[in-house]
Amino acid sequence: MMKIIGIAVSGTIIYVILKKNCPEYAVLAQIGAVIIVAFIAYPYMCDMLDLINNYTVGTELETEYFGIIIRSLGIAVVAQFSSDICRDNGSSALASQIEFAGKIIMISAAIPVIKGIVELTVQIIDKI
């Protein structure tokens, strides 16, 4: 954890230094810092997902829905940090576009879940 904090703080300082002298490189330094922190932090996520996967295998829940949850989580993570990078460097229009595209892709990934819910409600209504 300390490593992440150290890298983030030094990345911010480098970002500020470069912002004053040559703004183009500030963006690239920020992306570099994001890449390094991501590479340190994401392996912990990998173990967590494997753990949850092992648990869902035992139960009779369909693992397909769980896959969709993980996929939408990944989309959210990527959309979040890229839109924040764009917003930090002044192009908030692009940032909102990225967020909107992330939402659309997430909903399109979740279509099987919606289909399942609709079928379930139809069955329930038939039984009443």
């Binding site: 890298i7 480098i14 470069l18 002298n21 490189y25 570099g32 390094i36 994401y42 989580l73």
Partner: protein, 64 residues
Amino acid sequence: MDVDILFKIAGIGIIVAVLNQVLSRSGKDEYTMVTTLAGLIIVFMILLPHLIELFDYIKAVFDL
């Protein structure tokens, strides 16, 4: 993960800034754009493989 990409980018940025100052002082203002672009290309060459690696890693973790 190697932290030196961050410091490489910072170094190149500062060198290009100094170069631009030197060039603009010595009257050759048209070369500042060229040096900035050259620096950008170098930084992109350093950064892009890591970005590709990160996106492949995210694809693997979240099986996108």
